[in-house]
């Protein structure tokens, strides 16, 4: 039995994931053609702008690992960012705004999980339903208008630094670390691999897979709440279309990062690289003054390119 093990793919070149190749290529290309791309200010800008996406892509990784999907994340983010704006405006407290946003996100996430786990509705359809609901509620609570005049304490989140590092980046790093520990060093994380890989195994281990699944979706909602704070701080207002289409970028980042949509094969660090790749792409195209419609198309292209490299690797 030993022989089979030593014959594992050992070529280190084959082990370099597609997302790393893609990221290096992107940086090289934009570094040479986009003016000012490699300036320290712009690199900081890319990282800061990627933080909202990171908040969504981390839990999206877990959800996709369960062979699920959350299409509602962008719309829920819109809703939570409005909650941050409205609550902080009414109370003057950033923390109350954040707390309310996390709570609202958790409700949406739990509903998603309940629809998928308990009612057995396919994730695509269930979260499409909550997408519509969250978008509609956002229009209702904002009356279709931007919520302006929010307290400084919210706006400062985006501009403040800790030891020279922008606070949003600190929040993203802490979130990444928390998700790393959650996925690789807790029981809950271990069972996420089983939710996608072999749910029967959980049953034979005497574990309730439905409750675990609901918790995974709820985590996604709560992170959309945290992202809502960053979004409102960044725009200095609550806007009823703030998160439009962000679920697409989040799913793209996860796919680019090498997480498979089947059998619980996920890679959290790949997702982080995928988020930065999406951020680099959008920023580079911006610097080259290309319209945002091109950006959406290129993110789609990015997914295809990264998966192409992964496909090459797994076939060889």
């Amino acid at each position: 039995m030993r022989e089979a093990i030593t014959s594992l793919p050992g070529n280190p070149l084959q082990r370099i994931p597609g997302v790393a190749v893609t990221l290096v290529l992107l940086v090289a290309v934009f570094g040479s053609v986009a003016p000012g791309f490699l300036s320290p200010a712009n690199i900081t800008n890319v990282l800061v702008q990627s933080t909202v996406l990171m908040m969504l892509a981390l839990p999206m990784t877990l959800i996709i690992m369960t062979e699920g999907l959350d299409l509602s994340m962008g719309a829920v983010l819109t809703f939570t960012s409005l909650v941050v704006a409205i609550v902080s405006l009414a109370t003057g407290s950033m923390l109350l705004g954040l707390g309310a946003a996390i709570l609202a996100g958790a409700v949406f996430g739990t509903v998603n999980g309940w629809l998928v786990a308990t009612l057995g509705i396919p994730p695509f359809v269930a979260t499409l339903g909550t997408l519509g609901t969250a978008q509609g509620l956002s229009l209702i609570i904002s009356d279709g208008q931007s919520v302006v005049g929010i307290p400084h304490s919210v706006r400062d989140i985006y501009s403040a630094t800790v030891a020279g590092v922008p606070v949003p980046v600190v929040i993203a790093l802490v979130s990444y670390a928390a998700f790393h520990i959650l996925l690789y060093h807790t029981r809950f994380g271990t069972y996420i691999f089983a939710l996608g890989g072999n749910r029967e195994a959980l049953k034979y281990a005497g574990l309730a897979s439905n409750r675990l699944l609901i918790a995974v979706y709820a985590t996604g909602g709560m992170m959309a709440g945290v992202a809502g704070l960053l979004m409102t701080a960044r725009m200095n207002s609550g806007h009823p279309t703030a998160g439009l289409g962000l679920e697409f970028d989040a799913i793209a980042a996860v796919a680019v990062g090498g997480t498979s949509f089947e059998r619980g094969n996920g890679w959290l660090f790949g997702t982080a690289l995928g988020v930065i790749a999406v951020g680099v792409l959008r920023n580079g195209l911006n610097l080259m003054a290309l319209p945002s419609s091109i950006q959406v198309a290129s993110v789609g292209l990015l997914v295809i390119v990264a998966l192409f490299f992964d496909g090459l690797r797994s076939r060889s």
């Binding site: 039995m1 030993r2 089979a4 093990i5 594992l8 520990i181 690789y184 060093h185 807790t186 029981r187 271990t190 691999f193 089983a194 996608g196 890989g197 072999n198 029967e200 195994a201 959980l202 049953k203 034979y204 281990a205 005497g206 574990l207 059998r263 619980g264 094969n265 996920g266």
Partner: protein
């Protein structure tokens, strides 16, 4: 029942470690277990023997608490206990190693062994992954499996996964270990390792319930043999008191309705299908067979012996790696669409998922495969389709109020007729049936066979997979018996008995 096998250094054992009394379990339409009693003593290997559908899997599910019995009692060391969940079974030290593994592909070996029982780490809420690896290595060493526990299960072969399953059971301190055909996927060397491990477990006083189809194993390992048939316990005996032939006789003889008609042709027609030294990527090799017009030819063997793989290769659904398939005088290649166009019909085992569009009408289902033939102009004529469908409904005596009825609402037997009719409309000449009577009630079975009989009487040919050996014996002109991906032998009409089929299909001592 002299307790010949005693755990070392203990007082004589007078009560079984686990005893089941009068276990019955019914599923809609099937009596899966009928008053089965069964006992295992510590330190013995109890062989469970029976054909497909004899009740072995049902008994295993009841044993491990995944299914609960309708009636019957469990006794653990003489005390009456309840086993109504997998947790109950685990508490009694029962662990089952299923053929479909309960492993998670993208967790490592250690995490799989301790799934659901992870030791806590120093930081609250975390798990101690280093300890998992350390403990896993110790357990793997104890069963003589030398592998790094930090390797993902995804990277392992089937045999290695089997060993991880065993390690998982050992780590739960299993005292009663149930193994379902554990050597099915193992090489000879790996089988030796497993047998050595079983000997060590026996010496430790572990009771092992071992399901096998291989006679050699039954006699090499078994301390006690229980034979099941039709959900009933036929006999319990010691290997010394049994012979392979005797066991085979006990396993066969299932009660099957024999009232279906069959008109055997005096002389079979021309060769319609000829398969020469066929091999396929799915694991079959050296397949030689022929089917003549007017014949029903059986393809038997145990589940997993490669029967379905052979018909899939003939139909072009699996990649053929060697050999040739000659149909109606022409060598064939290409996919299922090619095979269907040439006149080969495959009636799959899972009618609902593979053979029918259950939400569409009887008429739609009947004409769907023949669209090209019925409408060469590529324009659909609903009236013509309706006429063809109505004709088939009448010809096949499909019991449906109208041909507009949804197929999913028909009985199993009538659904099967629709699948056959669908191919009849295309003018198929060779009908391949995979378990044609599965899930069909007795009355409808004889109608299906009457239909197949009429098909071949009209010049078609049929190749039929069935696990119901009595059916094969009753309706087939000849039969091929498969074992481990190869044809183990051919039985002519006069040799076609259940005993001969089982004998050829099993490993003989």
């Amino acid at each position: 029942m002299s307790a010949a096998v005693q755990p070392a250094g203990d007082a004589p054992v007078t009560v079984p470690l686990l005893e089941l009394r009068g276990i019955s379990k019914e599923f809609p339409g099937v009596r899966a277990l009928d008053d089965v009693s069964f006992a295992v003593w510590p330190g013995e290997v109890h062989m469970l023997l029976g054909e497909n559908g004899a009740g072995k899997s049902s008994l295993m599910k009841v044993l491990c608490g995944a299914d609960s019995a309708d009636s019957g009692e469990f006794y653990h060391k003489g005390d009456k206990v309840r086993v109504s969940s997998t947790a109950d079974a685990q508490k009694l030290g029962i662990a089952v190693i299923f053929q479909e593994f309960s492993l998670v592909p993208y967790l490592d070996i250690g995490q799989n062994i301790f799934l659901g029982r992870e030791p806590s780490g120093r930081i609250p809420g975390t798990i101690d992954r280093r300890r998992i690896l350390r403990d896993a290595r110790r357990i793997l060493d104890s069963i003589g499996f030398n592998i790094d526990p930090s390797i993902l299960v995804e990277k392992l072969g089937v045999a290695q996964q089997q060993m991880v399953e065993i390690a998982k059971a050992i780590s739960q301190n299993a005292r009663i270990l149930v193994m379902d055909e554990p050597t099915a996927a193992l090489s000879d060397r790996e089988t030796e390792l497993l047998f050595a491990l079983i000997a060590r477990l026996k010496a430790d006083g572990v009771a092992i319930i071992y399901i096998s189809h291989r006679m050699a194993e039954v006699f090499a390992l078994g301390d006690r043999i229980t034979v099941l048939r039709d959900g009933r316990r036929i006999d319990e005996l010691r290997p010394a008191d049994a012979s392979p032939d005797q066991l085979v006789r006990m396993m066969v003889g299932r009660t099957v309705d024999m009232s279906y008609p069959r008109h055997f042709a005096e002389t079979p027609g021309k060769v319609l299908l000829e398969v020469r030294r066929l091999a396929a990527a799915s694991g079959i090799s050296d397949i030689d067979l022929e089917v003549r017009a007017g014949e029903i030819v059986g393809l038997c063997g145990l589940a997993g012996s490669g029967r379905t793989e052979v018909v899939r290769a003939i139909f072009g659904a699996d990649k053929v790696t060697a050999g040739e398939i000659i149909f109606d005088g022409q060598q064939t290649s290409g996919g299922p669409d090619q095979a269907a166009r040439r006149g080969i019909a495959l009636i799959p085992e899972n009618r609902k998922s593979e053979g029918l569009a259950p939400l569409r009408s009887v008429a739609d289902n009947l004409v769907v495969s023949a669209l090209r033939k019925l409408f060469p102009s590529h324009l659909f004529d609903p009236r013509r389709a309706q006429r063809v469908a109505d004709g088939l409904v009448k010809q096949l005596r499909i019991a449906t109020p109208t041909s507009r009825q949804m197929v999913g609402l028909l009985s199993g037997g009538n659904q099967q007729k629709v699948v056959i009719g669908k191919w009849l409309a295309t003018g198929a000449k060779l009908f391949i049936f995979d378990e044609p009577t599965r899930g069909i009630d007795v009355g409808a079975k004889s109608e299906i066979f009457a239909l197949i009989d009429r098909l071949v009487a009209d010049g078609a040919a049929a190749l039929m997979i069935s696990s119901e050996q009595a059916e094969i014996c009753h309706v087939c002109d000849r039969a091929y018996v498969m074992r481990e991906g190869r044809i183990a032998g051919q039985l002519s009409r006069s040799e076609l008995t259940e005993e001969n089929i089982v004998r050829l299909g099993m490993h003989h001592a």
